[in-house]
């Protein structure tokens, strides 16, 4: 009994850390890509559009599996091994995470980040769109350069305006971390499968996993609510 519980708790930890890492990465990447889109430079805007269209329209599962299983196969086997599965960086990662193939973790994180950041970029851009023109003109009159304008006005106000939508997407991202189990990441879903194959008690453990996911969603959305309240200046 306790061994199964341990497995599930480790899975919960993996899911939580996967969520935190992908959330932070996707936020940074999303804001950056959204910033590219409104930068006014044509090439940057075009790159941002391509990024958003591409990664919003491909399922996260396809992205993760492609990166994990497809990408290494481009290279011949011996080169593949040294780049993806057996070098200094990978060995260090292996020691930290305790996974036998940390590249798959990297692939899952990359896939989830690409998918979520594409959504966040579009949401952030929409949030920036709600900032009134007079604010921007006032900033320009006061002599603010593009850098100051972005970090002092566009970033905080755009994030605050789009935060409800962003937090919905981030919770979706939290649920999507369960897709990492397809590339052998021992997350909560994977752990529940492992426990079921040991105990043959499918219904009980599936329900337990459901409760744990709901708990995670509850906590995570509570945190996001808090952050959202911090961001919005009115409250």
């Amino acid at each position: 009994m306790s061994e199964e519980l341990d497995l599930l708790l480790i899975g919960l930890g993996v899911t939580a850390s996967l969520t935190v890492v992908t959330t932070l990465l996707a936020l940074v990447a999303g804001v950056a890509i959204g910033g590219f889109k409104i930068s006014g430079t044509k090439t940057l805007a075009r790159i941002a559009n391509l990024y958003i269209d591409l990664f919003r329209n491909i399922p996260a599962l396809v992205l993760i599996i492609f990166i994990a299983f497809g990408l290494p196969n481009i290279l011949p086997p011996d080169v593949r091994k040294t780049i993806f599965f057996d070098n200094q960086l990978v060995n260090i990662l292996q020691k930290i995470t305790g996974l036998s193939l940390p590249y798959y973790m990297l692939a899952a994180v990359t896939g989830l980040t690409l998918n979520t950041s594409a959504y966040l970029a579009e949401l952030f851009r929409a949030g920036v769109g709600t900032i009134s023109r007079s604010t921007l003109e006032a900033a320009r009159t006061l002599g603010a350069g593009p850098k100051v304008t972005f970090f002092q006005i566009l970033l905080p106000q755009g994030l605050a305006a789009s935060f409800p939508a962003i937090s919905t997407r981030l919770i979706h991202n939290m649920k999507n971390t369960s897709l990492a189990s397809f590339v052998a990441i021992p997350d909560l879903f994977h752990a529940s499968q492992a426990v079921i194959s040991r105990t043959f008690r499918a219904t009980e453990y599936l329900l337990l996993a459901t409760v744990l996911y709901l708990l995670l969603a509850f906590v995570f959305s509570g945190i996001l609510d808090r952050v959202g309240r911090q961001l919005s200046p009115s409250r």
Partner: protein
């Protein structure tokens, strides 16, 4: 390179329609699953959204719980849970074929999202519309709800299309039940043959391209719809001013 292309071309019919001699699968099954989930989810969503908007605390609580639970758990987990439940309990003597479980799970999942979209639409109804409906004599709850629903549907059409696209992409997850849609077919084609390794890249690129083509077309359509909607709303508000 050439044999990879040949491999892809040979497998296009399989990816689109499933393997010959078996039940239909591939991309067409993905689309079918999406349509079924949206179509069957919608009536449920209407009921749930009425619950969310209800004056009764109990109904509101129940509807909120429904949406919260279904939106809070990953789709793969829901799929397995439904498959397990319908298999274990055999309610209504349902056939235990995975595709049924997939449709039920997708429907439930879809309805929760649709219900929250409908609620948002009903929250966005201008007060004037409800008041004028009341002035025109719609007293009963039913007809005022009908007015509200119609408006909500109209306003939220782009959101519904967006949700449907998202649903289409989410069907890739039914691979856990082994339902032979696009992703599963790709997995079967590749098989467990290690000498196939070179084909992994190209085939998954191909699958990604299929998903992209469908989703991108529909998202462009949604964007167009949204633009037209905005113009229509503008005309509407101008002509009613």
């Amino acid at each position: 390179m050439i044999d990879q292309l040949e491999f892809l071309i040979r497998n296009i019919p399989n990816l689109l329609f499933g393997f010959p001699g078996y039940r239909p699968g591939g991309l067409s099954l993905s689309l079918l699953l999406t349509l079924l989930a949206i179509g069957a989810g919608f009536p449920i969503a209407i009921i749930v959204s009425q619950g969310l908007d209800s004056q009764r605390l109990l109904f509101r609580r129940l509807a909120r719980l429904y949406v919260w639970v279904l939106r809070g758990i990953p789709l793969i987990l829901l799929l397995l849970l439904v498959h397990q439940m319908t298999g274990g309990l055999r309610i209504f003597g349902l056939d235990r074929r995975p595709i049924f479980s997939a449709v039920i799970a997708l429907t439930l999942y879809c309805s929760a999202y649709q219900a929250s979209i409908l609620l948002a639409g009903m929250r966005a109804i201008p007060k004037r519309l409800v008041e004028s409906a009341r002035l025109m004599g719609t007293k009963s709850g039913v007809s005022s709800r009908a007015v509200k629903l119609r408006y909500a549907l109209h306003v939220m059409l782009p959101a519904f299309v967006g949700q449907s696209i998202s649903m289409f992409k989410d069907t890739s997850v039914v691979i856990v039940l082994g339902v032979a849609e696009l992703m599963t077919v790709a997995r079967i084609i590749l098989g467990s043959d290690a000498s196939n390794a070179a084909n992994w890249v190209s085939l998954y690129l191909f699958v990604g391209a299929f998903y992209f083509a469908v989703a991108f077309t529909f998202s462009r359509f949604a964007a167009k719809l949204e633009r037209r909607q905005r113009n229509q709303d503008l005309i509407y508000s101008l002509s009613n001013y």
